[in-house]
C-alpha cells in the first residue's frame, strides 16, 4: 500500500483566514497544503466587488476581489500548495484526515498541524413561502450577480439591514435590479450608516421594526407581505404592506461553520456577539485540541481584515510551534498582530466582539492571560453605539467634525465628510494631498476635516469605501452651486444633460445640470459626478436618480 502522505501544515479553507495562515507559515519555512472545496480559491472575497474598509496594511479602499488576487499572488510567491475541489470530510482518528477530491476520490492524509478556516454559514429564516423558488440567501444572490453575472430577479426584497444585506442590496442595484425595500426587525439599522446611505440615496426604503410576513406565488415568488413589529418583535396587526416582487434575499447573519472543529473534538462555547457556537481558542489561535488552530469567521463572525490577521497569527504560531521561529521573534510578531486585531475591534461596532473575544481567551484557561476579567467589565460599561433608524438630519451631520462650517462653505469648494460612526476605516486620510483629513489616534475615530487646509480638489471622494465624502462648491457661478459625489451605476449621465437631484434619502429635490463626469483610472471605477443646482440646495442634494433607460 502507498504510504500515507504527511504534510507539516494542512490549512482547510482558502478564504482570507486560510490564505493568511498558509502565507505566513510558508514564509517561515513550513511546508503547507491549503485545501478548499470550491473550484476557486478566495472564499468570500471574490464575490466582494466593493471597496473595503480598514487601514493601509489591509489594503483599505481596494475592492474585495482585488484583495483576493493580491493574496493569491502572495501565496504563490511563498510556494503554498493549493488543492481545490478538495473537501475535508473529517479526522478519522487523532491525525488521519479524510479528503474527498472532485466529489469522487477519497484520500487520506496526515498533518502535524491543522488550521481550520472554514468560514461561516448563512442563517436561514422561516416564514410562509420561505421555500418558494425566488427566495434565496443573500450570498446566493451575490454569487449570481457578481460571479455568474445573472440577475436573480428584477424586483427584490432584502431581509436584514446588516452590512451584508446593505452591501448586497447595493450590488443588486449596480447589477440593474430594483430593490423594493430592506426590512429590519430591530428598531435601527444594524450595518454601517455609510452603507445604508448608499442604498437610501438610490431610493431604497429601509423599514426598521418590520419583517417579512409572507412570500406568495404559484411556481415562484410574485408578491411579498411585510409587517410592522412591536418592541418585542411581535407583529402589529393591521400594519402591513404588500409589494410586487419576484425575489426575496435573506440576510440575517452567519454562524461559524464548526462542523470539522466539532468532529475534531474542539471545545465550543456560545458567543452570540460572534455568531453563535464557536470553538474556543487561546492567544495563539490554537483550539482546545493541541495542534489544531482556528481563524476567521469560524472563530467568530467578523470581517475580512480580522479574518486575514487571525489567519496570519495562526500561521506564525504554527511556524513557531514547529521550531521555525524563535520565541523572542515570535513574541514580537504576535504582539503586532494582537495590536492590529485590537485596533480593528475598537470603536462601538467592534466593541461587543472585542469583549467576546476577550472572554474566549479567558475561558480557554491559559496560564498566561492576555486579559483580566475586570477589563471585560470595564469595557462593557463603556459601550456606546449610536443607532439610527434612518439617515440622520442635516443638523445631526453638521455636529460632526467632517462637516464644514457655513462660513467655510460660502468661501468656495470644500469637502463635506458625512461619516459619523466610529468604524475601522481611514483611506480618506492618505488620499488627501493637502493633509486636510485626520483620523486620530485610532483607526475607529471619526474623520476630522481641517477646513482651512482643504482646497476642494475632490480626490478624497472616490477613495472613500463608504461613499460618504462630497465636495460642495458654493461659488460655482453667481446663481449656481456645484456638488460632487461618487457614482457607480450604469449608464453614466451625460455632461450638459439634465438629471433629478436627490437628497440623502433618495427623494427628488430639484432638476440639476450635469457639469462633469470624472472617470479617471485611479478612481478605480468610482465615477465622480458634479452637478450644478440652485445655491439653496447645497446642504441637501447628494446624488442623482439612477438613469433607467439606456436610450
Amino acid at each position: 500500500m502507498e504510504r500515507m502522505r504527511e504534510v507539516e501544515l494542512l490549512v482547510i479553507g482558502a478564504g482570507p483566514a486560510g490564505l493568511g495562515a498558509a502565507i505566513e507559515a510558508s514564509r517561515y519555512g513550513v511546508k503547507v497544503l491549503l485545501v478548499d472545496d470550491k473550484d476557486k480559491p478566495g472564499g468570500q472575497l471574490f464575490k466582494q466587488i466593493h471597496k473595503f474598509f480598514g487601514s493601509k496594511e489591509h489594503l483599505a479602499g481596494t475592492r474585495g476581489f482585488d484583495i483576493g488576487l493580491h493574496l493569491l499572488k502572495e501565496a504563490d510567491s511563498q510556494g503554498v500548495e493549493i488543492s481545490l475541489q478538495t473537501k475535508v470530510l473529517g479526522t478519522m482518528d487523532k491525525d488521519v484526515i479524510s479528503l474527498l477530491v472532485k466529489e469522487r476520490e477519497m484520500k487520506l492524509l496526515k498533518a502535524k498541524r491543522i488550521v481550520l478556516a472554514t468560514g461561516g454559514i448563512e442563517k436561514a429564516l422561516s416564514f410562509p413561502g420561505w421555500n418558494l423558488p425566488g427566495v434565496m440567501s443573500a450570498g446566493a444572490a451575490q454569487t449570481l450577480i457578481n460571479i455568474e453575472r445573472v440577475l436573480p430577479g428584477e424586483r427584490i426584497l432584502m431581509v436584514g439591514s446588516g452590512n451584508v444585506g446593505l452591501i448586497i442590496s447595493y450590488q443588486l442595484l449596480q447589477a440593474g435590479a430594483d430593490v423594493v425595500g430592506i426590512v429590519e426587525a430591530g428598531s435601527s439599522i444594524t450595518g454601517y450608516l455609510v452603507h445604508a446611505g448608499k442604498v437610501m440615496r438610490a431610493g431604497v426604503p429601509i423599514y426598521t421594526s418590520h419583517t417579512i410576513k409572507e412570500a406568495r406565488g404559484g411556481k415562484s415568488v410574485e408578491e411579498v407581505v411585510i409587517t410592522a413589529l412591536d418592541r418585542r418583535w411581535n407583529p402589529i396587526k393591521g400594519i402591513e404592506k404588500t409589494f410586487s416582487a419576484d425575489t426575496v434575499c435573506i440576510s440575517v447573519g452567519l454562524n461559524p461553520n464548526g462542523q470539522l472543529a466539532s468532529l475534531a473534538g474542539c471545545e465550543f462555547k456560545f458567543f452570540p456577539e460572534l455568531g453563535g457556537f464557536l470553538p474556543l481558542h487561546d492567544d495563539n489561535m490554537e483550539s482546545t485540541k493541541k495542534g489544531i488552530y482556528i481563524a476567521g469567521d469560524l472563530s467568530g463572525i467578523e470581517e475580512a481584515n480580522s479574518a486575514l490577521d487571525e489567519g496570519r497569527l495562526a500561521g506564525i504560531s504554527v511556524a513557531a510551534s514547529l521550531g521555525y521561529i524563535d520565541s523572542n521573534r515570535f513574541a514580537k510578531l504576535k504582539e503586532d498582530y494582537w495590536d492590529r486585531l485590537n485596533k480593528l475591534r475598537g470603536g462601538p461596532f467592534g466593541h461587543k466582539r472585542s469583549i467576546a473575544k476577550k472572554k474566549i481567551l479567558l475561558s480557554s484557561q491559559q496560564k498566561e492571560m492576555r486579559y483580566q476579567e475586570i477589563d471585560c467589565i470595564e469595557l462593557e460599561e463603556n459601550t456606546k453605539l449610536k443607532n439610527y433608524k434612518s439617515i440622520p438630519s442635516l443638523k445631526e451631520f453638521q455636529e460632526f467634525p467632517g462637516y464644514p462650517s457655513l462660513s467655510r462653505i460660502k468661501k468656495g469648494a470644500v469637502a463635506c465628510i458625512e461619516c459619523i460612526q466610529e468604524i475601522p476605516c481611514d483611506p480618506c486620510v492618505a488620499a488627501c494631498p493637502f493633509k486636510a483629513i485626520n483620523i486620530n489616534p485610532y483607526i475607529t475615530d471619526l474623520p476630522y476635516l481641517d477646513e482651512n487646509k482643504c482646497k476642494g480638489c475632490g480626490v478624497c471622494i472616490a477613495s472613500c469605501p463608504g461613499q460618504a465624502i462630497f465636495v460642495l462648491n458654493y461659488n460655482y457661478s453667481s446663481e449656481k452651486a456645484a456638488i460632487s459625489f461618487p457614482y457607480e451605476y450604469l449608464p453614466y449621465p451625460k455632461i450638459g444633460g439634465k438629471a433629478v437631484g436627490v437628497n440623502r434619502k433618495g427623494e427628488p429635490v430639484a432638476e440639476v445640470k450635469i457639469v462633469k463626469v470624472d472617470k479617471r483610472a485611479n478612481f478605480d471605477k468610482t465615477a465622480v459626478i458634479t452637478i450644478a443646482c440652485d445655491k439653496k440646495y447645497i446642504n441637501q442634494i447628494r446624488s442623482i436618480e439612477r438613469i433607467k433607460d439606456d436610450a
Binding site: P133, R149, L151, P152, S220
Partner: protein, 109 residues
C-alpha cells in the same frame, strides 16, 4: 431573468463559448463555465424540482451546494445539485419530481 451585459465595476461581459443544453426537451444556450443553475435562471427557469410529498416547487436557494433545493435530473442522474455543477455541451436537464428515481423514471405525483 437577464444576464448582466455591462457592469459599472466588472465591465463588459467576457466573451465565453456558447454551448447548447437541453432543458425538459427544449434547447437553450448556456455559457461554458457557468453553473447549471445560473444558465437556467438566465433563461427564466426558477422551479427546479417538486417535492416528494406535497409536490411543491423548489429552486436555487443557498447557492453553495448545501440545501439540495436546486437538485435536478442531469443526464439521467437524479439529485444533482445544479448550483455547484457546471454546464457541458449537450447536457440533458430535467425537472425532478420527488426523488426522481421511481423505477428509473421521473415520477410525477
Amino acid at each position: 431573468m437577464k444576464r448582466i451585459k455591462e457592469h459599472p465595476i466588472l465591465g463588459k461581459e467576457e466573451k465565453r463559448k456558447k454551448i447548447k443544453i437541453v432543458v425538459n426537451g427544449k434547447n437553450i444556450y448556456a455559457y461554458k463555465g457557468e453553473t447549471i443553475a445560473a444558465a437556467l435562471i438566465a433563461n427564466g427557469y426558477r422551479d427546479f424540482r417538486y417535492t416528494h410529498r406535497f409536490n411543491l416547487p423548489r429552486g436555487f436557494f443557498c447557492g453553495i451546494g448545501q440545501c439540495t433545493d436546486c437538485s435536478m435530473i442531469v443526464n439521467g442522474v437524479p439529485n444533482i445539485r445544479t448550483c455547484v455543477t457546471r454546464v457541458e455541451e449537450g447536457m440533458i436537464i430535467e425537472t425532478q419530481y420527488g426523488y426522481g428515481d421511481k423505477d428509473g423514471k421521473n415520477e410525477r405525483s
